[in-house]
């Protein structure tokens, strides 16, 4: 697709000689208003913001993101609220890329076409659908492309070389490499060197694609992976929201501090 806000975000980071920082938070955690404030505040440091639309049967998420998702649902978040958050965010931060992330049933119930149109209207830049793998996602990805929305393909350590090739060929501006066999938020059980080796193999196939690494990235590990185009931090952020709520502290301030520190580690 090129020229997309997502692509531009990677270019900007590259100019500063650093990877792009991608954050993941759950829309509506712990309220619609609070999650908007968190998003606004962390976007000062994040290059691309992933926003989860929570599902109550998330088969690929670990404890931290599950907790955030259940809390958001309990507090009444609806899909249309997620779109409202994005819309409101884009009015004040029109150059910050937003990626929605979630499970397919939510899109299916909303209706695929309606969902994509709504994404377009709210200025969503990209979509990650955890349980809609390649090639089942071909049709949906094409529809996204038609509306200039990046459909983000995932690759995993289990993805065979042959499959990798096909997926990369059909991918848009960004590819998400899952660092290890794990749900989100697991401890990094593969050495960063090995992850970077796999990353390079993917990168070699098509240099123009922005490849990000996610899963298991924390303040401790992020600097070891900074040769990548981009790095995603999710559970570590959700954990901070969780802890702040538990301690009765200001989640916006605490989470922003975490994201600022993450950014400093990769500068």
């Amino acid at each position: 697709m090129g020229n997309s806000l997502i692509d531009q975000s990677f270019k900007n980071a590259k100019k500063e000689n650093r990877p792009a920082l991608l954050t993941y938070t759950v829309a509506g955690d712990n309220s619609i208003k609070k999650s908007f404030e968190i998003l606004k505040s962390i976007s000062e440091y994040a290059d691309i913001c992933e926003l989860g639309f929570p599902h109550n049967t998330p088969i690929a998420d670990g404890g931290q993101i599950q907790t955030s998702a259940y809390r958001a649902i309990k507090n009444g978040i609806k899909i249309n609220d997620v779109f409202s958050i994005v819309k409101k965010f884009k009015i004040i931060k029109k150059n910050k890329a937003i990626i929605l992330m979630g499970y397919y049933n939510m899109i299916y119930q909303y209706n695929e076409n309606k969902f994509i149109k709504k994404c377009k209207q709210s200025k969503v830049d990209g979509l990650i659908v955890v349980d809609l793998p390649y090639p089942e996602n071909k049709n949906f990805a094409l529809k996204c492309k038609k509306y200039k929305i990046n459909f983000i393909q995932l690759l995993s350590p289990t993805t065979s070389k042959k499959r990798q090739k096909k997926i990369i060929k059909d991918s848009h501006d960004m590819i998400y490499y899952i660092s290890m066999l794990s749900t989100t938020g697991g401890e990094l059980k593969v050495s960063p060197r090995k992850i970077m080796r796999e990353y390079q193999k993917i990168k070699k196939q098509n240099k123009s694609k922005n490849v990000v690494i996610g899963f298991g990235i924390t303040e401790k590990t992020i600097s070891l992976l900074k040769k990548a185009d981009g790095l995603v931090v999710g559970s570590a952020i959700c954990k901070e929201i969780n802890n702040s709520i538990k301690r009765g502290q200001n989640a916006v301030t605490n989470v922003t501090n975490v994201v600022r520190k993450l950014k400093n580690k990769i500068k």
Binding site: N56, I59, A60, K78, N105, Q109, P133, E136, T158, T159
Partner: protein, 409 residues
């Protein structure tokens, strides 16, 4: 949408894994693509392998105890005064329920793939108990994921799992029942798929798990077909096969050989869990017209809200307490080959009381739902109608619930 003849229903899906173009599929995270493909290839190979079939049949006979008996319930038939009521007493199988077929086959596949660890989900505890038995038998390390609520209400089965050396992992998320156990088991597999085999406890989940489970439980109807011919000289003209449906593994196994028959000759009736009387919660996506949704890697009718959040379910029977259902049952519903209805907690309990008062069998709360439907329809049917209920589980595991509920009433 039309059923094909002479092809097992488990094989009537398209290349994307969908039955009737809309049920099933494999909605899985990228990490699971390869293990699922590996398993698919292995199963395709094994089911054509004569040695493997011989091994399966050997264990079905000598370990599980096939065939289970097919008996007439004389007293119940007399009491109701209509159709003849028969039972296929699948609860005689080793371990006390049909879940042993799927567990044994998965353990054999796990061995054949050279994996040493096996994990599974369980609701009523039977799938877990059987997997722990099979794991022990074949020397595999076993972990069972089970909702915290179910661990409490199905204690006898938990004790059995622990005796077999399996680790029970309690699941505290969501409603703490089967739906959460399946999710957690899948998450575990995502993290450990390199050395661990996953067994899904019913004909649900990504396409390949539906197929393996259905292929395993189909033994029930193969036996029944022979038993019918022996008992009646031929397949009788008016049969009704009644089975409870949670995920739908015992029902598919009970019906698979009879799907090609005309439905006027052999009617298939599935009974879901209606939950407590007057409760809005139920676990009956087929009979109470839930919408299609994606749950645990497959598209099926699912109890959910408008947004696609999976609804909580409620049933006295842990084994039926599941918001989704097998894609093959969705297909059987839409092609109108099977009819689905539900029984409430109360009518299942009542049926349990009647059956155990009159007969020597002890059906668990799951098949008691099927008996409730049999008891409801039998009186107005002719004497040459043969109702057969799959008594697919033994009530030993329900000891505590039965004690509490029957003493109260």
């Amino acid at each position: 949408m039309k059923l094909k003849k002479n092809i097992p229903l488990i094989d009537q899906h398209d290349k994307h894994g969908f039955w009737g173009k809309k049920f099933g599929g494999s909605f899985i995270p990228e990490t699971l693509k390869k293990p699922v493909e590996d398993l698919t290839r292995e199963f395709k190979k094994l089911r054509k392998n004569k040695k493997f079939i011989k091994k399966r049949d050997y264990y079905f006979k000598n370990y599980i105890g096939s065939p289970t008996s097919f008996i007439k319930l004389e007293q119940l038939t007399n009491e109701l005064g209509g159709a003849q009521i028969w039972a296929k007493v699948v609860s005689e199988a080793n371990g006390g329920a049909h879940k042993i077929y799927n567990a044994t086959v998965h353990a054999l596949i796990c061995k054949s793939m050279g994996k040493k660890y096996i994990v599974g989900d369980t609701g009523a505890g039977y799938a877990g108990k059987m997997l722990s038995m099979a794991a022990k038998k074949f020397g595999l390390k076993c972990k069972i994921f089970m909702g915290a609520k179910d661990i409490k209400r199905q204690k006898p089965n938990c004790d059995a799992m622990r005796r077999n050396g399996a680790e029970i992992v309690p699941v505290y998320s969501g409603s703490q029942t089967l739906v959460d156990a399946v999710s957690e088991c899948m998450r575990y597999w995502v993290s450990n798929c390199d050395n661990t085999h996953m067994c899904v406890g019913s004909t649900v989940g990504p396409n390949i798990f539906v197929k393996i489970c259905g292929w395993s439980t189909a033994q029930i109807s193969r036996e029944l077909k022979l038993q019918l011919k022996k008992e009646f000289k031929k397949i009788p003209n008016k049969i009704k096969l009644i089975n409870c449906v949670g995920g739908g593994s015992s029902a598919y196994g009970f019906w698979s050989e009879f799907i090609d028959f005309n439905k006027k000759q052999i009617e298939l009736i599935g009974v879901e869990a209606g939950g407590p009387k007057n409760s809005k919660l139920h676990a009956a996506p087929l009979s109470r017209n839930a919408k299609i949704g994606i749950l645990h890697g497959a598209a099926s009718y699912v109890c959910q809200n408008n947004e696609g959040q999976i609804k909580k379910t409620e049933s006295i029977s842990a084994g039926l307490d599941y918001p989704g259902v097998s894609p093959i049952h969705c297909y059987l519903k839409d092609t109108k080959r099977a009819r689905y209805t539900y029984a409430t907690d109360e009518s299942a309990l009542e049926a349990y009381k009647i059956v155990t008062r009159l007969e020597k069998i002890n059906p668990s709360l799951e098949p008691s739902h099927a008996f409730a439907e049999a008891i409801r329809i039998a009186p107005r049917l002719s004497k040459d109608t043969i109702i057969i209920v799959n008594s697919c589980g033994d009530a030993k595991k329900d000891r505590d619930i039965l004690k509490e509920r029957l003493e109260k009433n």
